[in-house]
Structures are given as structure tokens and as C-alpha cells.
Amino acid sequence: MKLLVCVSKTPDTTAKIAFTSDNTALDANGIQFIMNPYDEWYALVRALELKESAGGSVTVVNVGPAANDTVIRKAMAIGADDAIRVDAEPKSAYFVAQQIAAVAKGNDYDMIFLGKETINYNGSEVGAMLAELLDLPFISYGTKLTMEGNAAVIERDIEGGTEIVSVEAPFVVSAAKGMAEQRIPNMRGIMSAKRKPLKVVAAVDCEDPVRVVSYQLPDAKSAVKMVDPENMDELVRLLHEEAKII
């Protein structure tokens, strides 16, 4: 089984987010970066489990500059066999999908895994675009994946219940909580990751139709208003007129 896992780098969940002075990009100064947890905990680990039970290989792919190599090495320390980095700034979901599609084309991966979203942009776009570019089926938000012959049975959380689908490989799947459990790399894994191949490839030309105009931080939280429990009318008025939720 030949598996590809897409991993991206995101700010740590505790990072304080700020933007550059013209509000068009993240100010990375002082930010600690991590591997996107949906990619790491669920997509990568489930791919590794499949390899461990059925044999094969797990390759990780990342679109980003050389500074992303720490994240890529972590993926190999956890157990991926090798890695490919497309040497370019990941400008948009479409750009990233184009680059990964170029890597995947001709490589005959049986399954392509990625997290359901990144925790910074939360777009959930790359998987669907990638599947379209490769002309493969796409299953999103998988919470469980088991193999039955050449078909994967994937459970997905839907509003109020669970949908169970069956899909023949090859396909693209995005992983949500439940698909696997986080694995912490050990020291031997960290050292052996140094000897695993990391191939750096140039980006393919890609016209990017999307341009970020600006980012805005959410409004600062306003002070809590205390309402006397006897004064229900005032509470209803505030919810209606100020909070505008009823």
C-alpha cells in the first residue's frame, strides 16, 4: 500500500496572532509553529497504522520553505518513511492543492490523507481541490477508516448521526478526531528521521485566482453585563437589542 499524507505547518494553538502592518499577512515574529494537529494526530497516524498492518510505505508532503523541515522531520520521527517538500510559500489552498497534485501525479498513491482542516485558516479546501485535480473520489471528515479488501469503509460524522461510506482505492480522505490517536515520537525515532530521505522539489507554475485582501482580528471581548435575576425583561431586551441573538 502506497500512502501519501499531506502535512502543513500552523501556529501553536497558544500563539498570540498579529498581522503585518498592512493586515495582509500573519506576523510570524515570535510565533511558535507546530504540525497541524489534524494532519499529525489523525491523518498521519491512521496512515502509519495501515502500513503497519498491511505493509507498504508512507510518504509525507509539505508545501513550504526550508523552515518547515522541522515539522517534516517530526512526521518522519513519528514513522513516515520519506518526505517531499515543495519549495514555495503556501499562498492559498488552490496553490497548495496544485503543488500536491503535481507531486502525486504519476506516483500511483493508493490513498492520500490529510487533516479535515488546518487550525489557522480552517478552510477544508485542499482535500477537495486535490481530489478534483487528480480525478479521484474525496471523502471528508472521516472519523474511522477500515479496509475491506481494496475498499475502505469510512465513517463520517454528519448532523445528528453517522454516515458510513465505502470507497475503492485510490481516493483522497480528510481525517477528523477519532480516526486515530496521537503518537508521540521517541528519541530513537527523532534520530532515525535524520537518515530518512527528504526530497525538495521546485513548485510548478500555477495561476492563483485568489488574493488575500486583508485580515482582521475579532473585536475585543466587551465587559460582562450583570443583570438582576428579577429583571427578566431587561435580560430579554439586551439579548434582543445588543447581543442580537433573539
Binding site: 496521537q182 528519541m187 534520530m191
Partner: protein
């Protein structure tokens, strides 16, 4: 002995304080830029392991004064036993800075958990690697690295602490074996240990290292109770009554006090890093508390006296980090002297203890409860200040090093 300490970890987790561990590392001087990928990945891995395995249970085990012995396996799996020893013996093959960072992250969780790993790695595996025969290395190191064997280190005696050269534990030649007699005190891990690296005088009065195995007749390891510090770490004695130890168990490549002292240098080096972890946890908790706790209508972090405490804490942590980093680069080059290690151990542990005390004050009354980690760290650090060479002895080592005059004689 072990069974008494093994509680079902699931039950213990439920019974314990389930507050989320919100710890973040602190790097005021961008020291991360001096670290490589190995160091950053090791730190990240051990920090995740501590948040997952240690933080949810540590207050409960510490409160009950029970050692979470199930964590030995986890420490082995993550690679915390002998990470800087060669990979061919099942160890990590990492450098000394990586080893230091692992100790820092473990002690961020608890000094007792760090002690479990330092003893195994620096005081048991290191002497077997450094002074043992190839046969001894192959026999013991892979099992110690994988956690199949737990080890302990016997140097201190009831009447000989800071003066180990005065030890009375001894071995007498008896054909193919030695007969070992004596007693050791304050031995981390001893009641659960499978092997003990014991330092004893031979008939010529030379200190030799012997590997004593659990089950050898006349060997026992009773537990020491009643500690107000390192309560999640198990401590005991080692008692030898005519224990017959095969000559094959003697470490062949060292004689004299330099054997145990070189192990202590290794462990003290790890403590110099470890103490930073405990200090950072206290600072991190105090900083967050100072921003959340409102008094007189504003966060207490806005008051000058709180800011003084916090500013001094981060200054001292930053100095300790730089000291440890430089010591690490010297150790990587094989150039760190025992006196340099003494300075870092003494400074960093004292710094951590002072920070724990100040952080306790910032937490007010809450600081004395196990809702916060601060008082546990403070009590642990009282031991760390004393073991592996006391605060005063390390000062005299520096004194001797700079004056050339020996205050011990």
C-alpha cells in the same frame, strides 16, 4: 514490592485533579535559535508526554506518596533512559544538550519523575557503559534502556553522605566471587530496582563498582517512608549481609572515587537543566495567575510588587538557561569540568527553589494547595538542593577550584 505501588493508572487518573495543563515554555532571549532540530523535537515530544501522562496524575500520586511505577515503561518508550548513550545498546545516540532538555521537560512535570530517569540513565546505565566490560554492556544496557530492568545507584551511606570516601560497605575476595557487606541510604528507585550499581571498598581500600541483582541472597532494599519531598519518587535503603556477588559483576575499568564521582557529574549536569523545568512551571503558573486574579479591581500582575517578582523570575530563568546551554556545548565537546557542572547545579537549583517560593506568594492561599503545581515543586526542590552534592558542598568545590585551596581537609 512493586505491586504495592502499582495502582490502576486509569482509576488514579479519574481520582486525580483533572485540570488542564496549560504550560507554555518561556524563551525570553530566543535561546531556541541556539538549538537544533534534535533538541526542539525532543523537547516537543517529552513536553507532550508529560502533559499526557504526568500532569493528570502527579498531584494525586504525590499526595498519596506513591510512585507511579507504570511511568517507567513510558519513560523507556519515549527514550528518556540513557538518551545520550550509543544506539547500538538500545539508547538514543543523542547529544548532551538533548539529554539536558529531556531532563528539563521531565522536571517541569515533577522532580521525582526526572529522578526516576536520571538515576536509570546517568547513575546506572552510564557507569555500566563507561566502566563495564563489553559483556556487561550487552547484558544490561538494552534491558535498562527498554525499561525491562530498573536500576539504582548505591553510594551514600547512613554515616557517609557528603564524604563518600569514608564508606564502610566492602567486598572481600572469595574465589570466583566477592562477599559484599554494608548498607546504603537514600537510594532512589531501590525498592523497585532489578539491579543496583553499588560502590564498595575492596581489601586494599580501593572503591570498586559492583552490579548487585535482585534476588541475590542477603540483599534487601527496604523503602524509606515519611518524605515531605519527592513524594512521587520511591526511595529506599540497600542492605547487604554476606551477599555473594560473582566477579563477573565487578565493573573492571575503574578504581577509586572517580568512578562514582564521574556518574554524579553526569547526573548533576542533568539536574542543572532539570531545575529550569521546575522553575519555568512555577513562573508560568504565577504569570498566568497574576493576569487572571483580580484584586482591588485589577489583575494582581498590574501591581509593582507582583511585577518585581515576575521580572526577577524570568531574569533568573534566562540566566540559568544560558548557563545550561553553554555547559551543554562544553559537555558536547567533552570539555565540561566537574567544577563547572557544580556551579550550574548549585546555581540553577537554588534559582528554582527561590522562584518556587516567590511563585507561591503570587498564588496567595491557592499556592499552598495542589490545585497548582508550585508547592509540590518547592518541596521537591528542597531535596534537589541537597542530593547529588549539597548546595554548600558545590560552593566549596567552586571555592577550591578558584583558590586552589581545599576546604574539605
Amino acid at each position: 514490592m512493586m505491586e504495592n505501588n502499582v495502582k490502576d493508572p486509569k482509576v488514579a487518573t479519574k481520582a486525580s485533579n483533572n485540570k488542564e495543563d496549560r504550560f507554555q515554555g518561556h524563551d525570553y532571549y530566543n535561546i531556541d535559535e541556539l538549538l537544533n532540530d534534535d533538541h526542539l523535537l525532543a523537547r516537543d515530544a517529552v513536553r507532550s508526554w508529560v502533559k499526557q501522562e504526568v500532569s493528570p496524575i502527579i498531584e494525586d500520586y504525590s499526595n498519596r506518596a506513591v510512585c507511579p511505577t507504570h511511568l517507567f515503561k513510558g519513560l523507556a518508550d519515549i527514550g528518556a533512559f540513557g538518551p545520550s548513550l550509543p544506539a547500538e545498546y538500545g539508547c538514543g545516540g543523542m547529544d548532551e544538550i538533548a539529554y539536558g532538555i529531556i531532563m528539563q521537560e521531565l522536571e517541569r512535570g515533577d522532580s521525582g519523575i526526572r529522578s526516576m530517569a536520571s538515576v536509570q540513565g546517568s547513575l546506572v546505565m552510564y557507569p555500566i557503559y563507561k566502566f563495564g566490560s563489553e559483556e556487561q554492556r550487552r547484558k544490561y544496557l538494552p534491558k535498562l534502556a527498554s525499561g525491562e530492568f530498573i536500576g539504582c545507584f548505591g553510594l551514600t551511606e547512613p554515616d557517609h553522605g557528603s564524604d563518600p570516601g569514608g564508606m564502610i560497605t566492602n567486598i572481600k575476595d572469595d574465589g570466583d566471587s566477592y562477599i559484599l557487606n554494608g548498607a546504603k541510604m537514600w537510594i532512589t528507585n531501590s525498592p523497585v530496582a532489578d539491579i543496583a550499581v553499588v560502590w564498595a571498598k575492596d581489601e586494599e581500600g580501593k572503591i570498586r563498582g559492583v552490579i548487585v541483582e535482585k534476588g541475590m541472597e542477603g540483599f534487601s532494599a527496604p523503602e524509606i517512608h515519611g518524605k515531605w519531598s519527592l513524594r512521587a519518587s520511591i526511595t529506599g535503603e540497600l542492605v547487604f549481609e554476606d551477599v555473594r556477588v560473582p566477579k563477573a559483576n565487578v565493573l573492571p575499568n575503574v578504581k577509586g572515587l572517580k568512578g562514582p564521582l564521574s556518574c554524579l557529574s553526569k547526573a548533576r549536569y542533568g539536574i542543572a537543566w532539570g531545575a529550569i523545568g521546575a522553575a519555568m512551571d512555577c513562573y508560568d503558573s504565577a504569570l498566568r495567575y497574576s493576569q487572571e486574579r483580580i484584586q482591588f479591581g485589577k489583575p494582581i500582575g498590574q501591581f509593582q510588587l507582583t511585577q518585581k517578582k515576575l521580572a526577577e523570575m524570568i531574569t533568573e530563568i534566562t540566566k540559568a538557561q544560558l548557563l545550561a546551554w553553554r555547559l551543554g556545548t562544553l559537555a558536547n565537546d567533552g570539555k565540561a569540568t566537574p567544577a563547572q557542572i557544580s556551579m550550574a547545579k548549585r546555581n540553577n537549583v537554588h534559582m528554582a527553589l527561590e522562584i518556587a517560593r516567590e511563585a507561591r506568594q503570587i498564588h496567595g492561599g491557592m499556592g499552598i494547595t495542589n490545585e497548582y503545581p508550585v508547592m509540590r515543586h518547592m518541596m521537591n526542590l528542597e531535596t534537589v538542593l541537597t542530593y547529588e552534592g549539597t548546595h554548600d558542598i558545590h560552593l566549596l568545590i567552586t571555592g577550591m577550584d578558584v583558590t586552589g585551596l581545599n576546604a574539605f581537609k
